[in-house]
């Protein structure tokens, strides 16, 4: 049979697509899936491209080594021997005074030649046109950035004081290449000459200096350097692609949300496609039988229908790709601004392969199987409606689901997450089916009570148990999607946003000496802060585990090696905050005073492989103390509260040299307190976390917006599933109601009958969806996102009622026309 004819026939069928409501739903489902996948796919691809292509400029060098202690001197020698350019600079937070104003700034002390890659841009006045420069501030001068400029009310030539150093502001620093690799730096910048720092008194003990050595050279010399140099375990090479891991982390989390949204859209769309294709296949049977009478072979019929499916799919895919292109621009707008200096490459057309492939899998994997079955309809059906062939599509559908997972896994590079979602959906589906089955069964007893319409409606459900269960499951799935979207939106995203309550401490004081405790307390008490909680902190080094000496070499894992090579910040207390959760063992009370017990963060367990009862010996200066692990905690590190890996009860580490630290919330209008504090306690360092917190808040806000944007698609996909489930029985119901009307049932009776049927189906679906949604939300919250999550009973009520309402509404919209047209027309046309 010739192909041109098949194509012509396919084309003709397609033109009449309006006569087949289910095909419109199918096209819509594919469109939505492709749009979502393309939007996220294109965006992630651009993001990935941008991060990978990030040049050395973002580091100000091609390679860095950075640490909290002075870097080994031979590092510079080794580099110079290899002809590698190298420079060291220092970074530390410090209070800057200018007249009556103070600001906490990030001081960066640089030497001539800085930066090795990229250029500084400065201007003589704030916000006046800037020009690039190869210079750095002369000794005695400083360059301030825009924030510092405005916070301190600077003028060119203003005097600023840092520690005991007096500097003249000589330029407005508009841009420094290694500033904005990640989130905008925490504090405003003051750029100074390294020469000045030496005698500033700023580098004394307790200062928070970060030493950074920059390298710049061709890639092979750098490789050579990395090969020949043994870095102390506490240090690490940093290449441009791994700058600022926290950016990646935050983006990763958002990316996970986005990927889950796409997966959910794809799976829902697949369900909608399968449902509609099933209906379409049923409807095609009569037509196929006639075609076969006219002499068409099965192959021709199949070819024609697959062709029209592909044509339809191609149109939806194309439109979806276009819409997805627009969608990625929305995402890029929301998220790309989070990272400075990040040039997003143009969207790569290659990233459209996966969404197009997804559409193909949906068409061939979900839409085609029912058509293949239908194409086997025997021609006898023209005489005998019961003539049918059998064919199972479930195996193909299961395979196709895996294919969807595979292609999305490939696109998102998150196969594990995909498997999670797929397994979850399968479990949800089974759960849905099971509960629905039970509920439908239990209805049987009710169907003989109540009015005529009610009996008719319930009777419909009970008579067609299989169809009803199928429909309720599909409806439940649609509702589940809607619920999950709102749960994710309301609970998960809010939980993420609200991790930082409004009175979260925004100032940290560190470097407090023991003899300053009382004066400090009275300082604060005089200003109305009497709840100040001060934490002692001693630095200890792990020397023995269960009595045996350990060094970095006792461990294989480089992370562990690095970790135990540093001093542990250790504290003692009889109190832990809300951001600490005991995971094993119990927190101690008064009885613990003076006991050498230890409360360890889970990370320690993971790194050292220790358990409760294990003994850890820590060395504090000359003194060694052996502790017994008493419990494990999980700390929420981004709570902006002081936290420690290791805690002991009070009265154990008393004789060890310790510093104290505290944190408190300082309202905007009381910032002058900091100035007083600095004057009275010059050695205490104040860390202003306000900016950092706002940063985190605004980043999360942006990420949440992006996720919400994608959830919109999930919502649409859920609605499409609802639509598919209801449209699916439309033909059958139309014929049925028409027949009943010819038999004398009033259209009022039928109307109420249908409505009560839909209401009951909706109630069941809503109830089941609520149960499943809570389960899934809990899983997502606890397993994937690490966010605490509780039951919300309101959800059940809302879901059940909304389910009934939505299903009634959709059902009513779908069948309204049928109830109005004269029954003869329906019966003729059918």
């Amino acid at each position: 049979m010739n192909k041109r004819l098949a194509l012509r026939y396919a084309g003709r069928r397609l033109r009449r697509i309006t006569s087949a409501g289910e095909l419109r739903v199918l096209a819509l489902a594919i469109f939505i899936a492709v749009t979502a996948a393309a939007a996220v796919g294109l965006f992630s691809d651009r993001m990935r491209g941008a991060l990978e292509a990030q040049s050395g400029e973002a580091l100000g060098a091609d390679l860095l080594v950075t640490g909290r202690e002075a870097l080994p001197a031979d590092l510079a020698d080794a580099a110079e021997q290899l002809g590698i350019q190298t420079l060291e600079h220092l970074n530390f937070p410090s209070l800057v005074l200018a007249g009556d104003n103070t600001a906490l700034a990030a001081i960066k002390a640089v030497s001539p030649g800085y930066p090795l890659r990229g250029e500084l841009r400065i201007a003589p006045e704030a916000f006046s046109p800037a020009a690039t420069t190869r210079d750095i501030p002369k000794p005695g001068e400083a360059w301030a950035d825009a924030r510092l400029w405005s916070e301190l009310g600077l003028q060119t030539g203003s005097q600023v004081q840092v520690g005991n150093l007096k500097l003249t502001v000589s330029a407005f620093l508009e841009y420094e290449p290694d500033r904005g690799v990640g989130f905008v730096d925490l504090a405003p910048r003051l750029l100074v000459n390294r020469q000045d720092i030496a005698d500033s008194g700023l580098l004394g003990p307790g200062s928070r200096v970060q030493y950074t050595r920059m390298f710049s050279a061709a890639a092979n010399s750098l490789a050579q350097l990395r090969k020949t140099t043994d870095l102390p375990p506490a240090l690490r090479w940093i290449t441009p692609s791994e700058a600022r891991p926290e950016v990646r982390q935050a983006l990763d989390r958002a990316g996970k949300f986005l990927d889950i949204a796409v997966l959910a859209v794809a799976l829902l769309a697949a369900v909608a496609v399968a449902l509609t294709a099933q209906q379409h296949g049923e409807r095609l049977r009569d037509e196929i039988a006639v075609m076969k009478c006219l002499g068409a072979s099965r192959a021709f019929v199949l070819q024609a229908h697959i062709l029209s499916l592909l044509l339809l799919g191609a149109i939806s895919t194309l439109l979806g790709l276009l819409a997805g292109y627009a969608g990625q621009a929305v995402l890029a707008n929301l998220l790309a601004g989070l990272i400075q200096n990040l040039d997003l490459p143009a969207p790569a057309l290659g990233a459209m392969i996966a969404p197009a492939g997804l559409a193909m899998i949906m068409l061939l994997g979900f839409a085609a199987p029912p058509l293949v079955t239908a194409s086997g309809t025997p021609p006898m059906r023209v005489f005998q409606r019961s003539a049918e062939n059998s064919g199972s599509t479930s195996v193909i559908w299961a395979t196709a689901s895996l294919a969807v997972l595979a292609i999305l896994g490939w696109q998102t590079r998150e196969l594990e997450l995909g498997a999670y979602v797929l397994a979850g959906s399968a479990a949800a589906l089974i759960l849905l089916a099971l509960i629905t089955w039970l509920l439908v069964r239990s209805l049987t007893g009710l169907r003989h009570r109540g009015g005529l319409s009610w009996r008719f409606g319930l009777g419909n459900i009970a008579r067609r148990r299989r169809r009803s269960i199928g429909q309720a499951v599909a409806l439940g799935l649609g509702l589940l999607a809607l619920l999950l979207v709102s749960v994710v939106r309301e609970d998960l995203l809010n939980a993420w946003q609200d991790r930082l309550p409004a009175d979260t401490p925004n100032v940290f004081l560190i470097n407090i000496q023991s003899e300053q405790l009382d004066p400090l307390k009275s300082f604060f008490a005089a200003r109305g802060y009497d709840q100040l909680r001060l934490w002692p902190m001693a630095r200890g080094r792990l020397v023995e585990l269960n009595g045996e000496a350990v060094t970095a070499d006792s461990f294989e894992d480089p992370d562990t090696q690095r970790w135990i090579n540093r001093d542990f910040n250790m504290s003692w207390s009889d109190y832990i905050g809300w951001d600490n959760k005991i995971t094993e063992g119990e927190w101690w009370g008064d009885e613990a005073d003076g006991q050498a017990w230890l409360s360890a963060e889970e990370y320690a367990r993971e790194r050292l492989g220790i358990g409760i009862g294990d003994r850890m010996t820590l060395q504090f200066g000359p003194e060694k103390i052996e502790f017994t692990v008493h419990n494990f905690r999980e700390v929420q590190w981004d709570s902006f509260q002081p936290n420690f890996f290791l805690l002991a009860p009070p009265g154990v580490i008393e004789n060890v040299p310790a510093q104290w630290l505290t944190s408190f919330y300082l309202p905007r209008d009381q910032r002058s307190l900091l100035r007083d504090l600095m004057t009275e306690f010059p050695n205490i360092t104040a860390l202003d976390l306000e900016a950092a917190m706002n940063q985190v808040r605004s980043i999360v806000d942006r990420l949440v917006q992006a996720v919400e944007f994608m959830l919109l698609f999930t919502l649409l996909a859920g609605l499409v599933v609802l639509l598919a489930a209801i449209e699916g029985t439309r033909g059958e119901r139309a014929r049925e109601t028409a027949l009943l009307r010819t038999l004398g049932a009033s259209s009022r009776t039928l109307q109420w009958g249908l409505l009560s049927e839909f209401a009951v189906l909706g109630l069941i679906a809503g109830l089941v969806a609520a149960a499943t949604a809570q389960g899934i939300a809990w899983l997502l919250a606890v397993q994937v996102f690490d966010i605490p999550y509780g039951l919300s009973p309101g959800l059940w009520l809302i879901s059940t009622l909304a389910g009934a309402g939505l299903v009634m509404l959709f059902g009513w919209l779908s069948l309204r026309g049928v109830l109005r047209t004269p029954p003869t027309r329906v019966l003729q046309g059918a």
Partner: protein, 231 residues
């Protein structure tokens, strides 16, 4: 030349999976030979097996036993696609319930048959034949926009569009009122005469049967030829 031939056709059906174990014997040895160009009516009561027989003769279904030929080809040897290919361009159908493709216009319904028959100028011949049945003004209408009589005229146009050698009609007037039915029959016989088609027509309308050259009665699963007045 023999158009349709059947030898000892037997059709048993298993009355479904509804637990029934007894086979239903619908046809119990039907013998029939129809020459090219003949017009044959098959009469019989409701449920006597007329439709079943027709579907076997047209190769839509296979007999339980016995063999039959369509246009010289032994149907028992062919698979379903083979039988379909044999029908294409050689066999036309008119059904009691019209069986037009719902999404296709009148013209497209007719064209499709012509195209499947391998007709070169499918469109012009479809237009022509639709004009012959008086529907030149309704070419673009969809089946549900046409009355029953009009739908059946489209079906007749479709049946003749492929210039078939054999036409099977299963109670073509069964769903129509008397006047419309008569017009349809006129049309059927007119086109049949013009194209010299072999016609096998199933009906329980004796008057309609009289217009055929041969009249056969299906009773108890067997065919009985009615003595024929010479036309």
């Amino acid at each position: 030349m023999t158009a349709v031939e059947a030898k000892a056709l037997i059709k048993d059906v298993n009355p479904a999976q509804s637990g029934g174990t007894n086979l239903l014997h619908i046809l119990r040895g039907v013998n029939l030979k129809v020459n090219a160009g003949e017009t044959v009516a098959i009469l019989g009561g409701s449920g006597s097996g007329k439709t079943t027989l027709l579907s076997l003769l047209a190769g839509l279904d296979l007999p339980s036993q016995g063999e039959n030929w369509l246009d010289g080809q032994r149907l028992n040897d062919l698979d379903e696609d083979g039988r379909a290919a044999l029908r294409a361009g050689r066999v036309g159908f008119v059904f009691q319930s019209f069986q037009l493709l719902p999404g296709f216009s009148a013209l497209e319904n007719v064209m499709l048959a012509a195209e499947l028959a391998g007709e070169r100028n499918a469109e012009s011949s479809a237009r022509q034949i639709l004009a012959q049945v008086g529907l030149q003004d309704r070419l673009e209408h969809l089946p549900h926009q046409l009355s029953g009589g009009e739908q059946q005229r489209v079906a007749i146009a479709r049946a003749f569009a492929g210039k078939p050698r054999i036409l099977f009609a299963d109670e073509p007037t069964g769903n129509l009122d008397t006047v419309t039915g008569e017009r349809i029959i006129e049309l059927l016989f007119e086109l049949n005469r013009a194209q010299g088609t072999t016609l096998i027509l199933v009906t329980h309308d004796a008057a309609l049967a009289e217009r055929c050259r041969r009249v056969l009665h299906l009773r108890d699963g067997q065919l009985h030829e009615q003595e024929q007045q010479v036309a």
